[in-house]
Chain length 128, copies 2
């Protein structure tokens, strides 16, 4: 996305420190940086094949449009699969793809850690 090509970014004073290039991390991180994206992955990873309403319930009060958008994005990105059953009432099940599972494995530690942080936090401590 509009990144300047790093053809001249080789700093002459590059120490032999293992400096990795974080520039091209567009795609994946972009998707993960959307609201609830990481949580959705982990929720689906946690409750197996998950129906829309199950995922919805896992969050407090996400609007259906937001959740729907997120799910679409994750499906299109190849991290979630969407199985639709032609039943009455309709049923749709989301699940992790192979890619999504790899992602989930790496995401889970963060989510768990995040929960710990939230748990041990005194409410009304930050100035804002």
């Amino acid at each position: 996305m509009g990144e300047t090509p790093d053809t001249s970014t080789d700093a002459p004073n590059s120490q032999n420190r293992e400096i990795v290039c974080y520039c091209p991390l567009g795609g994946v991180m972009d998707i993960l940086s959307r609201r609830y994206a990481m949580q959705v992955i982990c929720v689906v990873g946690a409750i197996g094949p998950a129906r829309y309403s199950e995922i919805e319930d896992a969050f407090g009060g996400v609007s259906s449009s937001t959740l729907s958008t997120r799910l679409d994005e994750l499906v299109e990105a190849g991290y979630l699969s969407r199985e639709q059953y032609a039943e009455i009432p309709p049923r749709v099940e989301y699940d992790l793809t192979a890619s999504g599972e790899q992602l989930c494995q790496r995401l889970d530690p963060i989510l768990e850690w995040a929960e710990e942080q939230e748990a041990g936090r005194v409410p009304g401590e930050d100035g804002t």
Copy 2:
């Protein structure tokens, strides 16, 4: 942020599946979901105490305002420390706090994985 308090979110039909509550994941995940946030953590984790310009260089073309905001947020959230030296020219060094280091450890696998994904991706493949 505006989440409905989950004082009554205990679904009565809770199967004995290990269902974790992902509702209160506000704070931490919120911060991480901002642009470059995760990358910044990992960049600082990678290049040790990092100066502003070093961090800036690690990305393609972030605007200083955006990066500055991100750094502030991460400092205030307690994941980065900011050491300012009263020199001419001024020098500021960011580093991971203990908390930030824990986060970085969990973030790194994702970033690395993300890079792999980007690497093995054929450009111009997705419909969009």
